[in-house]
């Protein structure tokens, strides 16, 4: 799917992080100091943020949204659409976006959508907002993207424990004069490569799904924990990410060198650096901003934007390309203009 809009503006971005920090070096006793240092050196993740059990992704997104609306002096009454992108909703039902409408004080006239996507989710969220605005249904849409994925990670699964972190974000998308080009793909044949098998209607939770076992990769998990086939995901990213970036650039009509910032999904430093090299992105244009937060799933791109805001001032991010890839499998890229976008510093959220 390729689609370009000429009337979309990203007005502002904010991110909220749980105050609790897990220093990965503290896992040395569990995994061995050498192994931990080796992983930190490759992934670039020194610490991850951990939401306490009483804080959900929507709480983090709410915190980010309040900060954003306050920082931009925008009244909740002037937001007329909300999209919540997360793999960790508050409930099976109702949709978390509806609860956020109420909690944020948005008008009851807003359409509210949940999009249950992960690492590609930010692109989906921006796309949904752009559609709502372009259709004339909305003028200003809040895209809340976040996960508290750590509670689905088995502590004995080092393949994911030392990479993922919890975070929430909020992005205000509005009618304006900017370009927003989107290229989006889905391939459900890879659904099993990144999955939490149990807990939905296909495989409800039971004593059997809670039972842990040692998998072929040597890590311990249950069917209620997240499983990621890192090799398959890497192959998928190598195959698709450079292509989708080139496609969205062609759609926008932007030369590769004219883009100041490429916001790649912050899977880990090794992957971001390698994908940037493979996609032949201009040197230094694909920042990594996850050293102290980890891979925040759907919030990883906006969280990164808040982390590197000082290195990428407005003139350097006048043209931006985002690329998300992961669960589904799903992937996409968007080209947007951020020269007048307000990007706030990340805020910490303390549990009540």
């Amino acid at each position: 799917m390729n689609c370009i809009f000429q009337n979309i503006e990203v007005r502002g971005v904010a991110a909220a992080l749980p105050a609790q920090v897990l220093e990965l070096s503290s896992l040395s006793a569990e995994y061995g100091a050498v192994e931990v240092q080796r992983i930190i050196a490759s992934t670039g993740v020194e610490a991850v943020r951990v939401a306490p059990s009483n804080v959900t992704a929507s709480d983090l997104c709410e915190c980010a949204a309040r900060e954003l609306l306050r920082g931009m002096n925008v009244s909740p009454a002037d937001v007329d659409g909300i999209v919540f992108v997360s793999q960790t909703p508050d409930y099976i039902l109702p949709a978390t976006s509806v609860t956020l409408q109420h909690r944020l004080g948005l008008p009851t006239g807003v359409p509210a959508f949940d999009i249950p996507y992960g690492c590609s989710g930010y692109i989906y969220g921006l796309f949904q907002a752009a559609l709502l605005i372009h259709s004339g249904a909305c003028r200003q849409v809040l895209v809340c993207a976040g996960d508290t994925i750590l509670r689905f990670i088995n502590p004995k699964d080092r393949s994911v424990r030392m990479v993922f972190g919890d975070a929430g974000s909020a992005t205000l998308v509005a009618r304006g004069t900017g370009t927003a080009a989107f290229t989006i793909y889905s391939d459900g044949s890879g659904a099993e490569q990144l999955i939490i098998p149990a807990g939905g209607c296909r495989l409800p939770k039971s004593s059997a799904t809670a039972k842990e076992s040692v998998a072929a990769d040597g890590n311990t998990r249950s069917a209620e924990n997240i499983f990621m086939n890192g090799a398959e995901i890497m192959n998928f990213a190598l195959r698709e990410v450079p292509k989708v970036i080139d496609e969205v650039l062609a759609l926008a009509g932007w030369p590769k060198e004219s883009v100041g910032i490429y916001g790649l999904h912050q899977a880990n430093k090794f992957m971001v650096d390698y994908l940037a090299k493979k996609a032949r992105l201009p040197k230094g244009s694909a920042p990594v901003g996850m050293a102290r937060t980890g891979n925040a799933g759907p919030a990883s791109i906006p969280q990164m934007l808040t982390a590197v805001r000082d290195e990428f001032p407005p003139e350097r991010r006048a043209r931006a390309v985002f690329c998300g890839f992961g669960v589904g499998l799903s992937w996409g890229a968007c080209a947007v203009e951020l020269g007048s976008t307000v990007i706030l510093p990340p805020v910490e959220m303390n549990a009540a």
């Binding site: 192994e35 992983i39 393949s159 990769d217 890192g230 090799a231 890497m234 192959n235 190598l238 390698y274």
Partner: protein, 77 residues
């Protein structure tokens, strides 16, 4: 790429001492052979050989020699 160059690349990826990889080693015995090293190996295959290695093929490799066999005709003596 020569076999020796391949071994040197593998030593870097698996954090093995220089000269320690000779071809017959079990991958599980390499100090840093883990899921992350597997991912790094795939990028090495991509950058040096422009050859995607299916994850299922990687998963059944037990030895360094098995990895070499993933690239027929591309690694010389």
């Amino acid at each position: 790429m020569t076999k020796q160059e391949f071994y040197t690349n593998l030593e870097d990826i698996a954090d093995a001492p220089a000269g320690s990889v000779q071809g017959d080693e079990l991958l599980r015995d390499l100090p840093g052979w883990n899921s992350l090293a597997t991912v790094m190996f795939l990028t090495m295959a991509d950058s040096k050989f422009a050859t995607p290695v299916p994850a299922a093929k990687m998963a059944v490799c037990k030895t360094v020699a098995d990895l070499v066999a993933l690239f027929p005709g591309k690694i010389t003596e």
